[in-house]
Structures are given as C-alpha cells and as structure tokens.
Symmetry: C2
Subunit: 151 residues, 2 copies
DNA sequence: GTAAAACCTCTAGTTAACTAGAGGTCAATA
DNA sequence: TATTGACCTCTAGTTAACTAGAGGTTTTAC
C-alpha cells in the first residue's frame, strides 16, 4: 500500500547499496534477474521500498549457503508477490535449504572417506576405483539443486 | 625412455578420449593449461605416452574433490617432470586434498548449524545475525585453495 | 544558477572449464 | 586412388555473477 508517508521513505540505489553492502551494479543485476524490483521516479531513477533490504539480506544468506541466484529467484518468486519476506517465509526457505546443505555435507563426507580409503592405493582405474566411478554420489548436474559452493 | 617398442604404444587423442572418458576438446584444453603434454607425429598430430591416462585419471579425481584445474596443474608441476604420477605421488597429493576436504566439510557444517539456529528467527540483520556476518567461516576468496564444489 | 555527485542504459570484460564450429590437413580403408 | 573419418588451429560461445566504463541525464547542495 502506497501512502504519501512511505513514499517518502523510499530508498535510492545508492542507499540500498550502502545499507546492504551490495554494489549498485549488483543491485541492477539482481533486478535484471528478477530478484528485486524497483519503482521509478519522474526522472527514471530507481526508488526502493524499504523491504528490499530484507530481500537482499535473504539473497546474500542464500548465496553463502551456495545456492545459485537462479534458484534463489525461484524461491523468491514462490513468495507472495512484491512483499518483503517475513519470518515465516524465511523459516520455510531455510528449512528447505538446510536439507540441501545436509545432503551436500553427506556427499562430501562420503567422498572424503573414499579418498582416505584410496590414499596409497594409487589405482585410479576407471572400472575399479571407487573414487573414479562414484557416480552414485555426485552425479551429473541435472535438474534440482546445484551447489557451486560459497564464493 | 623412448624405445621403438613403446613408441608403438603411443595413443592418439581419440584413443585417450575414449579410454579416459574425457572429450578430445577437453584434452586440447588441458594441454593448453599445461596439465598434460603430447608428442607430435610427422603430420603434427598428437601422440600420447600411455602414462597420460593415469595423469588424466588424477585430474578427474581432483576435480571431483572440487579442486580447480589451476591448482591441479600446480600440484602436477611439483611432481618430477614428464613422468606418470606414481602411487607415492598420489599418496602425497591425496593426503593434502583430504585435509582441504575436511576443512570444507567443517565450514559447511558450521554454516548449517548456524542456519538451523536461525530458522524462524528471521532477523537477517547485518550486524547481529550470525548467518550474515560469519566472515570468519567463509571469507573472501583469497590466495590458497578455492573450492568451487564438484560439478 | 551552476557544478558536482548520483543516477541512467548499454556494451564489454572477468574467471572457470569447457564446447561448437569453421576451414583445412592427415591417415586409414576399400 | 579416392573417400571418409580423425585430426589440426583458431575463434567464438556457454553459464554464473558480477564489475568497469562510456556517454548522457537528474538531483542535490552551495
């Protein structure tokens, strides 16, 4: 709901950048990917409702979890439109992401155990070595979550 | 040591590709990055000693561990020149990589615990939220190992 | 009222790890 | 011998997540 009062409270890109710790260009970029939205003033400059800060915060946390922007965008799209994510929304998203994180940790742990089992063996055979054809653990990157690791 | 006998045993790119499961173009690419080397025949075509198979195997395993090619190249360069990696070499490298994998797992575990601690809190404050300013856990990507996660 | 700071769009560059294709050569087979 | 398949080099494109800069407009502050 836009009242004269909260219109006054809108933020410029520069302000959002300063408060969120994200570069102005990055905010442009997020907008181009549909992760955030902006209103424009008379002179075509972006004006953000304050809620954008929360949205950006959520984006940054998700990135630290290793979730690619595209997926974060998907998740945000599933939230009621154009509203800041609430604590309840956050709960839903973070529970999901926690599961994926668990899965990722399991995969890495299994891989490490195999590696340790293979130290010194030196086989590396395509057919026999568990490190080489552990396709069951870390398969091709198909549909689903893709973990690129935190930057 | 090149004898008429093992000259005969040299492999073409296509053969290496087939046996290693890596595309021909990727082998070209590895060569351009100094990860593997080839001899050329009269017609300028690549001819590989059989040891290249072991080298490629090692590259693929390291990649599954999430180690970037540049670092794999560094590691290979530290091995005696132009020789296939032996079981002892593999032991050295894999022990090192195992440590890095441990570290990575620890980072992710800590992150997951923080995430779980934060589910429902919904704060996401720049100053207060442990998820947001856990710079101690996963910092900028500086010098050292860079983990991009397995593909 | 003017000058500087902030903003706008758009293109191009960055890294990683390749792939795809053009245009041409070489090798193996019938 | 001719043809096909494998090979050669080189350029350009791919994805992700941005950054840098050019060239131009708007806002703000003095």
């Amino acid at each position: 709901m836009i009242t004269p009062e909260n219109l006054h409270k809108e933020l410029t890109v520069g302000q959002v950048a300063a408060r969120s710790g994200v570069a102005v260009t990055a905010l442009h970029f997020y907008e181009s990917r549909g992760l955030i939205k902006s209103n424009r003033n008379q002179g075509n400059q972006r004006r953000y409702p304050r809620e954008v800060l929360r949205r950006v915060a959520l984006i940054k946390v998700a990135q630290r979890l290793g979730i690619p922007l595209a997926e974060i965008g998907e998740a945000l799209k599933r939230l009621p439109d154009n509203r800041a994510p609430t604590a309840a929304d956050w709960k839903t998203l973070s529970a999901q992401w926690s599961l994926e994180l668990d899965e990722r940790i399991n995969q890495l742990t299994l891989l490490r155990d195999r590696l340790n089992g293979c130290i010194g063996c030196g086989c590396l055979s395509m057919e026999a070595c568990p490190l080489r054809n552990a396709g069951d653990v870390l398969g091709e990157r198909g549909p689903g979550a893709h973990w690129l690791g935190p930057t």
